[in-house]
Symmetry: D3
């Protein structure tokens, strides 16, 4: 059979067509297909498959700004964690187990509750972490509708368990009604830095990125990107949309200015394909991960 | 303001615009909005709202065959059980609690796991029940992917707990691959009667109804209708579609021939609106409940 | 430019790519793009455009059963009647005006209220008509939610005005709840013949066609085809779907057995594209019109 | 049954789950489900139900900027006006009737023609009003395609009837082709202030809000928000989309700077769910109403 | 990491999660992702990926009728042929090349033109073949709109090249207008057997299967399944839908009665995911392949 | 029949309802319905029909900025070129043939490969052209996956053939990964000017327009607008979406500042309706063409 490079519509199923199954790779990709911690629309369990499929559009070539190719990082896609249907705590244990011992991990969610076991695994390796969180919600509730492990709670627990340092935590895109009182009463007093969506619309990417770099400093830092940070026009395929969010170009512009941040891992969560259209949400998610990976290459190159 | 009957696009939010909140009503409607026991596509948590909304098309008038109107039953819509996100066992406890003590209950799911607490509540009142189950799957597994309370398991537990009588249990529309070995090894040996989808296509409604009546006999009997008994063409909005299912007219034709059965309650489960189109699945679900209710009126009238 | 037959994706906008604007043509096509007489979901105003577009799939070739090509009838597409937004009575006047004086007319709706002015125009030419109506609803109400010209009323008025002969009227596919009492109290006493959807499922196309031919006899007869006669699986794109309807093959099988009927015109109504998917409803509508036209060619050929 | 707060997927059907039916409430919500005055795509009759359902996402908590909760206003949802299908004038009479005598009303449309009877009712109470109109179209035509009460005409009539003061009227987001000549010939000469969509993109929220406050002054003012003021990317579910509109964050940014305006009521119109995707248009509409209500609370608090 | 069986939403990307890349496997799966030979709607290039993804629902368990599991055949998924965009002839050469030398091949299309190179490869191994073709169209044109290798022509060329034996060829489901004259003038005179969709609706699965077995006899036979054999209600996601087609249960019922046929390979073509909804077309396609594979296991077992 | 202006839902099928078929018209519209040169999602063959249909919303009135009406240009819609399915080179020959000899041509694609024959025809008349290209991709590859005429290659060939002058070529919105290395290695060295999407977000419309005018100068210039220049939120209906693109208002703002440019023709390509929602992509495309035409009227008026 003549060897010809395949078209994008023939690409494989791993993220960026990466090799699979090597837990010793410099950077691993992992799916966390659970959505039973969601409070509104479900469906994020199909997020990892959709993001992987959408990544075929990003296969060939370098990042337009960084001029780098994530393939040079030595990626390995580990597939999906075998989560336990309808059991949040046990699923979290399996996610933490799967994430432990990896050098650098990008996780594809799944609902945002998966950030908790991921932070547990990362903090075991790195100690308390800085956090850059793109999100419409603070996710610092102590429970949602009675469920203390729901997708609105991971950062409450991460703070309680000392996995993240509140002084080195910054949340970007916050605008959900249910967070207003929470912010006033609890979050701000804990020392977190909050940039609302309106702050981003008003201040611009340069100012936001500068603030992020200032807050997280040089220490090890985790990126948690909830796709609902984007406006529903850019990310309809998610469970808890909030009007007035970021444009995708704003998120990308901020992200690519974060080269000084010492990222040690990330997650991209809350892509719910059943509510997506023409893959625009899945592609936005895949693009954010790809931007992050390209940024890591750029940093490695600089560091070399 | 002139008093004029509202159009169907203005109808209220309870099922068939029924009065709400009266647990002493002769027939109650209850939503069980959980989907964390599903094994494939999620979204059935939005089923109760979608079925209620679709029922506006069935508001005005009598059943075309029975000539009866469910409103005459004295319906009350009790709203939704406050299930606990991501906790199957606790959600089941709350559903059982909500279902206990009601005279006659029609439950709108939610995933099929809710049939277990509903049968527990019904069996407390009536003793072991006959079961008429429309479904693509037997749902008699002892676990799904490690979860023993998943939506493929309720009738295993119902049999184990003696809630249903296997000799008085009949399943209609079965065709899922994963059930083939199960049927051979376990289900049939327990004494259940299985009519595959192909059996229905071959035998016709008269023969199927006769077989149902023969199997369940005159004792108290429960109807569990999983919308995936219908073919995906008729019910795309569901989590575990299987090709080759029943046409909606076949299900209706069977159902309306079951006047001799002594039904004491029912559920309609697995409507997942995110995968629906133009409400056809939600409307199919609402129609099956409406057919059931119309049948009960007909029986009451005969009994009077 | 080389002259090459265009692909179906390049076809023109008239029905079957017919010539346009000739009111003296043997058979005319007319759009009646109104939907303000609908009681539930709107959108049928876009039906004529969608049906014309869908007809590109039927352009090339003969009818598989009749072996005829509608193009041989000498079609002319007259475009759409300039209806008056939100004014049913005036729109009806304009439709009747546009339909008057044509030799043989196929109208693309639009909601079913357009059948009334169309019957007025036809009865002026032919006297009282027989009626073959495919529909989920009898549409013989005297008003809907206070509106006496709504889409559920045309045949009430047609009967009152003597446009159709009740003894020569047959309705096929009836199954809507709101019609049950109406049927019992009014319709049947007027002498109409009703075949429910279940009657069709039970009796089959041969028996139904025979009954139609028997009822309408040799006199001039009008065909009114409401796309909701089909089950929502086959025609999701309509305003008032009812579960349990005809398969498209059943409708086609009946239709093609009606060669003995002396049809003098028809309408195809209630296609609402906003609720359609992948054009399946619009194509079903276009196919019914095409079947009808092919049948007329077959009759002309026989008559010649 | 254990009392547990319900999840957002179980919320009730009234706007923000408000109590229903009290016409003496400080602020009332009313649905006006008509779409027979639309000139292009229909479907806005389903807008009120969709906006109410979407409001479940805004239930819990305070406004992120104002720190207020609309529930404190004492809302009551009055349901939908029983409009008359296909009769604009009579429907307008019923809407005016339903709106008369209420203290402060937020109406969910329905097409934009409903603003006329709403302004009639409001002007009866307050005299000539200032008007802040978000819209892609001026809606000041004297007729559309022959219909003088169509959805492109309400403000022509409101001006003619003296319901609004042209000097205190400002329209924001205007960009429709059909308005260009109208603006040149008629509208501007009447003294209205027009800010095109491009003006908003160029000037920013601060400048726009300042201009609004300047134009409407301290007198009683009505807000009419046509969802097509937003770009189709943010509000696909509407009947007359125009490319180049406002981002949702722009509209929100303007709105929340209007605290000095003395609003006495509002409408949110032209949400057409059949063209929506993943509820993003309905949610945008619900959010604008919620922003407005939150603003009123903030003003009340300041006033206290 | 605890080893737990993954859920269906975590399944791999090969068909039925089969091992990949072994051309010596007893049965191979191959994707042929081209759609530039289509005459109407494009998009079948994404068919192979969609069918593989949909096959996750068929992973676990045996065939309900045959009691067999395709995994026991020793499947290998070879991925997709690297077709050449916009070049039919060269793409066909690559497909033939990829298909040559394999023991038994199931190909996932792609448009129906791929059947030609697949038959060339099969005939090299087996000599002239019998053909069982499910299709709405005969696909025996000598050109479509000037393109002699378009998707309506493969069987014309296969006949011309002697790849299939007309006396051992049977086409099932034929109903397209453009074929009527062709059938009359050409196809039937060549000796093919044609069963229209109406023939299937009238005769039933037993009679159809008997006729197939009679026509193709004991010689080596190829199955070509165009998904548009199914009605658009069951398979909206295809390029050239025709109203009045087979129900999925009819196709399955016929297929499973074909155990006596000596099949040596098959293709499943014309699934176009952009027009699909909730994966029902892709799942129907995957199910037909799975039925075919299960049938082969049953035959092997009988043969053993 | 009363003559009344038809509603937008009744408009004809030519672009802006223009007269048809006059190749001597001052400005012609032409469809180029091919998509077999696409590398990812197909479907652009349905672009011309969708853009024409969407143009009904732009029929009545003048451009809001220019105050002009394209109808005054003397448009004629020539319909679609009869392209040859699956044969890029021959289709290009037919497109070039159809475009040759026209005074001023606006072409509706179709995939971007059609720009090559269109530039060939234009350069025959005008000599080497300046080029203003809105696009996510440079489309200057020498081949895509082995196909040298694929939709990523037209401007490579146009440069090689001397149809466009690299010094007078500017590309706006570039952001695709696969172009990064290409830009570095080839494109920039050829002298093209590239403005990335980020450049547009940062610099604003005034600066971008000034740069365009500076680059292309006063010579004859061609506009090639690939709809994927817009962000997927604004243009989901396209084959190769890239996250982070232009808002529609940005593109419009740039375009309307280009009055000084001496445009001699344009194309609008890559609208793929199967991936569109609520026509927002088709309407965005139609609006860009309408903006361009309005701009030409404004220039003619100035020139007069």
């Amino acid at each position: 059979m003549t060897v010809v490079e395949a078209s994008t519509f023939s690409s494989g199923a791993s993220f960026l067509d990466a090799p699979t199954g090597d837990r010793t790779a410099p950077v691993c990709i992992l799916g966390a297909p659970m959505d039973w911690a969601t409070t509104n629309r479900a469906g994020a369990r199909e997020g990892p498959a959709a993001i992987r499929r959408a990544s075929r559009l990003l296969l060939d070539g370098d990042h337009p700004v960084h001029g780098t190719n994530p393939a040079s990082l030595g990626l390995s896609d580990l597939g999906d964690v075998p989560v336990l249907i309808g059991d949040i705590a046990e699923s979290h244990r399996r996610i933490e187990d799967a994430a432990t011992g990896l050098a650098h991990l990008c996780t594809l969610g799944g609902d945002h509750s998966v950030a908790l076991p991921l932070l547990r695994a990362a903090a075991k390796r790195h100690g308390p972490l800085g956090l850059v969180q793109f999100d419409a919600h603070t996710d610092t509730w102590d429970e949602n509708f009675g469920q203390d492990l729901a997708h609105g709670t991971p950062f409450h627990h991460a703070l309680e368990e000392g996995l993240i340092d509140p002084k080195r935590t910054i949340q970007i895109g916050i605008r959900a009604p249910m967070d207003a009182k929470l912010l006033r009463d609890t979050v701000l007093s804990r020392g977190l830095t909050i940039l609302s969506a309106e702050d981003v619309h008003d201040a611009g990417a340069d100012a936001v990125a500068a603030r992020v770099i200032e807050v997280v400093g040089p220490g090890p830092t985790y990126l948690s990107f909830d796709i609902d940070a984007l406006d529903p026009a850019f990310a309809p395929g998610t469970g808890t949309p909030e009007v007035g969010g970021l444009a995708s170009w704003q998120a990308r512009a901020i992200l690519r200015r974060l080269a000084p941040v010492n990222f040690i891992g990330m997650d991209l969560v809350e892509v719910a394909p059943a509510y997506d259209h023409a893959e625009i949400t899945a592609l936005a998610g895949a693009t954010m991960v790809w931007d992050y990976l390209s940024l890591q290459v750029a940093k490695l190159r600089v560091g070399a």
